[in-house]
Amino acid sequence: MAEPVVRAVDVHKRFGRLEVLRGVDMDVARGEVVVLIGPSGSGKTTFLRCINHLERVDGGRIYVDGELVGYREKNGRLVEDREREVARKRGAIGMVFQRFNLFPHLTALGNVVEAPLRVKKLSRREAGEMGRELLGKVGLADKLDAYPSQLSGGQQQRVAIARALAMQPKLMLFDEATSALDPELVGEVLEVMKSLAHEGMTMIVVSHEMGFTREAADRIVFMDEGVIVEEGPPEELFARPLQPRTQAFLSKIL
């Protein structure tokens, strides 16, 4: 069996005295689309941020493509990695945020080419070509020179997706990518995410969008209070949730 793209083993994370992740184990295979659901505070976003080391882990291990992100193993203990190494590994993991986090001082194209230019040292021409192509893919070919403040929320998020894709990641993390959008703009972003899934991108998505989940997810993982309570393919989990906590949560959102 091929090595999983993401392997999380007994992950623990605490903020001060609050234990947010209490032993999370998860494997994500290449091309798999995993949707994380659960009540707020369940640790979904924190877990996502641990995968690309935006948050440190207090226990356990997370391997992306066989390598620890942000750490080196030394005598059986985790030692924080050199920044250059961490940055390099992060570049292979794309992340899309709830609040978009576009760079306001750059145009849409500027946002997309910034990382390839500075991190991958691409030439302006190469980066520009790739940027134009990616923005075309997300349906924004006519907005290359627009600034984020001139774009709608849905457009901004699509630029954010193109920006993350510009680094050619092997894994994409979506942190409630549509939660901050007006309802009528949610669809255009979900379409982009669906086509990405169809193209075989490995995706871990934190979302409340059950329609998208039913259509695109290979597996749903239900988290509550820092642990994985139940997981399974959408048809099964939605139709026959086994755990009472899962049933309670699903009854509220379905």
Partner: protein
């Protein structure tokens, strides 16, 4: 017809000395010291701000100490320590000769300014929302790359107004260098009224020059702020683009 202010004041004298060569030299020296010291202050401020927010405890504490000391003592005291105190301790003729009043003023005012600038820059960095750094890091940028390409450009807009304030104060604080006999604007007017006893007239001359310098600078600052409003929904028109329009035809600026 200007009514006489008082028996002993003469506007003619003001007019006569307004463009006096010594006064002009003093004004030019004032500008040189202010600009050089402010530039030094900005560079040091940037450096110490980054040191202050770094996770390295050594650089963070060192930066804190620097800010504490240079904000905590009068700049005139620092100027005297540099110009009189340190040469005494170094005891080298070459050193004392090379440390002219001009260089000492720039160095002392610059290092002092760095302490204030570091807090201004730090505030600017804090004003950029955390999500920006998250996004930059998630794209594979190191902390330094993120600072340089994402955070600092945005911090700039917040940093410019208080920095403009600092520069206006700097223009005026250069007058303290008269205490070490640097021939800047105030000292130049002192030299002249020491011999002709027209105290008020010469001080008015100096005041006019200071006002002219600070006013011109305020206009430049406003223009700079307009230029930096990149990506904002409502971009105020810059005087530059307005001038271009007047000269015939906009060219997509």
């Amino acid at each position: 017809m200007i009514p006489p202010l008082a028996v002993e004041f003469d506007w003619d004298v003001v007019g006569r000395y307004l463009f006096n060569p010594l006064i002009r030299e003093g004004a030019w020296r004032t500008i040189q010291v202010a600009v050089a010291a402010q530039l030094l202050g900005v560079v040091l401020g940037l450096l110490f701000a980054l040191m202050r927010i770094s996770r390295n405890p050594v650089t963070s504490v060192f930066s804190g100490f620097y800010v504490w000391f240079f904000r905590g003592t009068p700049v005139l005291l620092q100027l005297f320590i540099l110009y009189f105190g340190i040469p005494q301790m170094v005891g080298s003729q070459t050193f004392t000769r090379e440390l002219t009043a001009f260089r000492a003023a720039i160095l002392a005012f610059g290092v002092n300014e760095g302490a204030y600038m570091s807090e201004i820059v730090r505030a600017g960095i804090l004003s950029v929302e955390a999500g920006q750094m998250d996004a930059a890091k998630s794209l594979g940028m190191t902390q330094l790359q993120a600072m340089r390409h994402v955070v600092l450009p945005q911090a700039l807009r917040v940093v410019v107004p208080p920095t403009g304030n600092e520069f206006i104060a700097m223009l005026k604080n250069t007058s303290l260098a008269s205490a070490i006999s640097l021939v800047e604007l105030l000292y130049a007017s002192n030299l002249i009224y020491s011999s002709n006893f027209k105290f008020m007239e010469l001080l008015v001359v100096a005041a006019i020059w200071y006002l002219a310098m600070t006013s011109v600078f305020s206009l430049l600052q406003a223009e700079l702020e307009r230029l930096l409003a990149v990506g904002e929904r409502e971009r105020p028109e810059t005087l530059f683009s307005r001038a271009l329009t007047l000269m015939g035809g906009r060219r997509g600026i």
